[in-house]
Symmetry: C2
Subunit: 101 residues, 2 copies
C-alpha cells in the first residue's frame, strides 16, 4: 500500500458514521446488508448514510452490488488487512523489536 492510499483510507475511516458502518458490515460478512437496513441499524437519515457509503465505496473499503431495487454493501476485508499491514510496517520500520510483543 502506498502512502496516498493510506491517507485516503484514514480519511474515510475518520468519521463515526463511516467507522460504524464498516464495523457493522464486517460483522455481517459475507451476506452484507442493504442500504436501508444499515440506515435503520445506525439510525442515520438515508440521504446522509448514502453520502458516507459512497465515500467508503469510492475508497474501496466497501463493495456494492445492485439487487433488484436494493443496494447490497459488503466490507472489503482484504483492503483492511492491507491497511493493517501498512501500519504494522510503518510502526516497526527501524525498530522491529517494537512489534514483537
Amino acid at each position: 500500500m502506498d502512502h496516498p492510499t493510506a491517507v485516503l483510507l484514514f480519511d474515510v475511516l475518520a468519521s463515526g458514521v463511516r467507522l460504524d458502518a464498516f464495523r457493522l458490515l464486517v460483522r455481517k460478512e459475507p451476506e452484507g446488508m442493504v442500504a436501508g437496513d444499515i440506515a435503520a441499524v445506525l439510525d442515520v437519515p438515508p440521504t446522509n448514510l448514502s453520502f458516507h457509503l459512497k465515500a467508503l465505496t469510492q475508497a474501496r473499503l466497501l463493495t456494492v452490488e445492485q439487487e433488484g431495487r436494493f443496494q447490497r454493501y459488503r466490507a472489503n476485508i482484504p483492503l483492511m488487512l492491507d491497511l493493517i499491514a501498512y501500519l504494522t510496517e510503518e510502526c516497526c520500520s527501524g525498530r522491529p523489536e517494537q512489534c514483537a510483543k
Copy 2:
C-alpha cells in the same frame, strides 16, 4: 481502544503531512527529532508543521519534551500498536478465519 479514540486517531493520520511526520519519527526512534529538523526534512513551513505536530501530540501519537529552546518529538509506538490491535479486532469480529492468512 474505544471507537471515539479510533476515530480521532484516524482523523489525525488522515493528512499527508501528519502521516509523513509520524512515519519519520517512527524511523528516528528512540532519539526523536526537534521540530526544526522535522520541518526541514519534510519541507514544510515551521508554522504549518507546528500546527500538525500539535494535532498529533494532542492525539497522543507523539510526545514532546523541551530541550533547551528545542522541542523534541517522539513517536508513541504503543498507541499505534493499540490502534493496529483495534483494527485487527474489528476486521476479524465474526470472521476470525479472515485474519488468519
